[in-house]
């Protein structure tokens, strides 16, 4: 298994120092600036082409609108964006058979911020890019949520017009569910995945970076829907309303397809990296739980997202050239869309939730100073949830008119999925038994995660029960359930990850006081916002409505005010992030302040460009806390013969090298 370790990240002969001033100016190399220019040019070209091809049709003349230029504009725009970024440059040089300029991929050594705005191949740079991207998408989605809650303050006075309200609802939901699917896999998975398995790089750095650069394109395209009047279907995009909708709907389908592509690439890269790039001694049973969660999520992405991309493509086909995939009257079926969407949609929510489990497992074992209880149970839980998630999607469709004898079947599978999900609680609770618990900020968020996910998970049992689901489906009860599991679970885990890992990633500490303030305000206001929603749903308020029964107004007002305060707590987080990173810049003083045993804590903050000077040899698991005379987790400077022997020997999964 000859793995080429020294690849593009290696320095060419003669240029070893970081101070080498031979880099061309940022502006002369491909980057975001060239990407934007070519994207605009591409959009115009596509638009012209679309008009040329299709303006003669009767439907377009009658409707005074044409979807073909918009879709073609988006396609050419994305292509222009990628070409401008330099994604295809390596291919280009290869085809020409010439040597590419030497400073194209040395950017990991390049000082300054330019490398974050280019097509950089270092997974750590991609991780930071994802972090800023995901934070931006989250904040934008949050602003839309504030608009929704403002509208819902009164059942009869309307702040927003009816179609504006639907546009805001759709943008909020789609930004959160679509753009945020990589909220942990992106920043932390890409950054720490290779570090945690002892690798210097990922398997496919170009695919990984491409996966990131598709996300700003998807973000801009999704928001451009606002310029076209938005889309009226919410994040689920149900047909045939989606075929009927005006031009903003194209933005939804196209952005979702792009994001889907990004997820497939990221997942594929992660699977291959985890299987092939583990350091010698990093057996499957020694992998940190976070890597297990990344691994299971990647399978979910690779297997379920293509179905969504197909559904988006068919939806666009129905809208642009009058196919009838989803038109019942012409032999298509609206049920087809529902099934395709939810076949993806259910694994999607586990794509959102599972990485949260992984982060929490890491945080909990470090701050309890105890091994993770039931490692095999935890890993089985991750994989079990992943596999079972493909068998439950009809629970979104219990009342839709599906075959009635399918409903008990899917009730069973949905209830069974709560068994592996419960393993996370078993593992957490077991780790707390006779531990030494430190209440650092990541640990606080982990505790909040358990509390929120417990409520979210139990409410899921109510929803999986078909008779109870008759009242709860499509109401605010469902809204409360998924906000508890996804926001209360995933976002709290994301915050735990940020407070735990950002100092390692940047070498700069986040402010403790602001962090604690952020935690308490976020936890309290999150619960005061979303707990009453269970009651609202049970009392008959459907989702996505702007008018509701008068007797529900007080509760809605309470929720809206809480939501504004929750927004305030996120603002505190933003202030903490910005001020700590930009102004206070308190440097970390120790490499491993938490005395953690996982590999990333054995490296400086931030880790050097090639991660490890030499590929480490792993000597023991990362959870051996409390064991007297435990071996160190890895030997970071193994003698040269050990590595050669490792590769020439039995290959992956070999026993510890004798030092």
């Amino acid at each position: 298994m000859a793995i080429e370790i020294q690849s593009e990240i290696a320095e060419p002969a003669g240029r070893g120092s970081r101070d080498w001033a031979g880099y061309r100016s940022y502006w002369l190399r491909p980057g975001v600036h060239t990407g934007v220019v070519l994207a605009a040019a591409g959009y115009l070209l596509g638009h012209l082409l679309g008009n040329f091809l299709s303006s003669g049709y009767a439907q377009n003349a009658l409707a005074d609108s044409n979807d073909v230029p918009i879709v073609l504009g988006y396609s050419f725009g994305v292509l222009g964006w990628l070409i401008g970024l330099g994604v295809f440059n390596d291919l280009f040089w290869l085809v020409l058979g010439r040597q590419r300029p030497p400073d194209t991929h040395l950017s990991t050594l390049e000082p300054g911020l330019g490398k974050y705005f280019r097509y950089t191949l270092d997974h750590k740079v991609v991780g930071i890019q994802y972090l800023f991207g995901m934070t931006t998408y989250f904040l934008t989605g949050g602003l839309f949520a504030m608009a929704i809650r403002s509208e819902l303050l009164s059942p009869s006075y309307h702040l927003l017009g009816a179609s504006q309200y639907l546009m805001v609802v759709g943008e909020h939901g789609t930004l959160m569910m679509m753009m945020m699917s990589s909220v942990i896999l992106g920043p932390f998975g890409q950054y720490f995945g290779p570090l945690l398995i002892g690798s210097k790089r990922v398997a496919f750095p170009r695919l990984e970076a491409l996966g990131f650069w598709l996300t700003p394109a998807a973000y801009v395209i999704l928001l451009s829907g606002v310029l076209f009047g938005g889309f009226p279907t919410g994040w689920t995009g149900y047909e045939p309303l989606a075929t009927q909708a005006t031009a903003g709907m194209d933005a939804y389908f196209f952005a979702f397809g792009l994001m889907g592509l990004s997820m497939i690439l990221a997942g594929f890269n992660m699977i291959v990296t985890v299987i092939n790039y583990r350091a010698p001694g990093m057996r499957w049973s020694r992998m940190p739980m976070f890597v297990w969660s990344m691994f299971s999520v990647s399978f979910l992405q690779v297997l379920s997202v293509p179905v969504l991309v197909g559904a988006c493509y068919m939806g666009l086909a129905d809208r642009t050239f009058q196919t009838a995939f989803f038109t019942n009257q012409l032999g298509g079926s609206s049920f087809l869309y529902e099934d395709l969407f939810w076949f993806f949609g259910h694994p999607e929510v586990y794509i959102l939730a599972l990485p949260g489990f992984g982060v929490i497992s890491e945080v909990v074992s470090v701050f309890c100073r105890k091994p993770l209880f039931g490692y095999k149970v935890a890993a089985a839980g991750m994989l079990g949830v992943g596999i079972l998630s493909f068998f439950v999607w009809q629970h979104h469709l219990f009342d839709s008119g599906i075959n009635p004898d399918m409903r008990p079947v899917f009730m069973l599978t949905t209830e069974m999925i709560s068994i592996p999900t419960g393993f996370i609680f078993l593992v957490g609770m077991g780790t707390f038994w006779k531990a030494r618990i430190t209440f650092s900020i990541p640990m606080l968020f982990a505790l909040a995660f358990y509390f929120n996910f417990l409520i979210g998970g139990i409410s899921g049992v109510f929803l999986s029960d078909v008779p109870a689901d008759t009242t709860e489906h499509g109401s605010f009860f469902v809204m409360a359930h998924f906000h508890y599991t996804i926001m209360g679970g995933l976002i709290f885990a994301f915050m735990a990850g940020i407070y735990y890992w950002l100092p390692k990633m940047t070498g700069i500490k986040l402010n403790e006081k602001l962090g604690k303030l952020h935690f308490w305000t976020m936890f309290i206001f999150f619960n005061t916002t979303f707990l009453p929603l269970f009651a609202l749903g049970m009392m008959g308020m459907p989702r996505r409505v702007f008018e509701y029964a008068r007797n529900l107004e007080t509760l809605n007002d309470w929720v809206s005010i809480s939501a504004f305060l929750l927004g305030g707590s996120i603002l505190i987080f933003l202030i903490n992030l910005v001020m700590s990173m930009l102004f206070w810049r308190a440097r970390v003083t120790e490499i491993n302040p938490y005395r953690a045993r996982s590999l990333e804590w054995q490296l400086p903050s931030p880790p050097p460009p090639e991660n490890f000077e030499r590929v480490p040899v792993i000597l023991s698991g990362p959870y051996d806390y409390g064991v007297p005379d435990a071996l160190p987790v890895a030997d970071l400077n193994p003698p040269p013969g050990v590595i050669a022997g490792a590769y020439a020997g039995t290959g992956a999964g070999m026993t510890e090298a004798k030092v």
């Binding site: 919410g234 149900y238 100073r369 709560s418 008018e547």
Partner: protein
Amino acid sequence: MTTENTTENDTAPKPETNHWLRMSLSWLVLALVVDLLIWFVWYPHLPPGDMSDSAKHQQFDIAVLAVTGAPVVIAVLLYFIYSIIVWRARPGDESDGAPIYGNNKVAAAWIIVTAAIVMWAFAFGTAELIGPAGAGAGEGPNPIWKLAGKTSSTWTPGSGDMLEVQVIGQQWAWTYRYPQFGGMESFELYLPLDTPVTFHVTSLDVIHSFWAYQLGVKADANPQVDNVAYTTPKQLGGFTVRCNELCGIWHGAMYNYGKVVSQAGFSGWAAGVQRKEQTNGLLAVLPAYSLTYDPTVLPQLTSSNNLNKVDGITGGAGYYYPPSDPVTP
């Protein structure tokens, strides 16, 4: 995996606090109290109320699920609160916790208990689904759990026959057709007391969802599909009908109110509406029961060949697909 540590390494051994016992006892007491509160205090007020038999069964269902779920929630919360109080690191204590990697017995017990709860929930849920004839949920065009009751082509008070109501969703209002009354249609949903009702829910354009909240009925309205749901109203009074599936701009405003009245009152109302629509000639052109509202299903119009069609289609089609395509509404 190593086994659990049992003794501390102290010079003066003191009795080991039995954490299990403490936690279990407190859990038992709390869970019992909460379950009793749920069952006796909260249950009668649980949504969706008991206006119809499907609502009543759902209320029972939710109460049982709450009684099952509450002890689980209490157990987990109690454990976490206990552990963060008892096992927190004292200031200055930098030592590690006990190296417990796992415990097969604990894991097995957990799996068995959670599996048992899940199986119980599944069995109970299925029983509650079958018993009340589908629990008010839409069963699609071929329902398998039906209400007992004959269907006849007319309905009279006291006959015990099922009342058929076709619920039509169109952007953005609900209308209701009564096939047993000549196919008369109305914007108001009136239902007779103590009568098994079959709802046939369909849509003329996009996906809507018929949610009669106090009746505990929810069925998606899909174009060209008949979604059947059952219930039996048991109390007089008004109820709300809301659209439960995003159907366009006025989805939030797509609601109206229905009423459960006495059987005689219902009969009187229906007769009145039927008479009015008969007099002004509308009744003849409302198909008694149809998914597409194509008047070609009406024999009297087909034979006279006197149908109003534009470009070969009988309903406003939007001209999205060219008229040469077959089968348009």
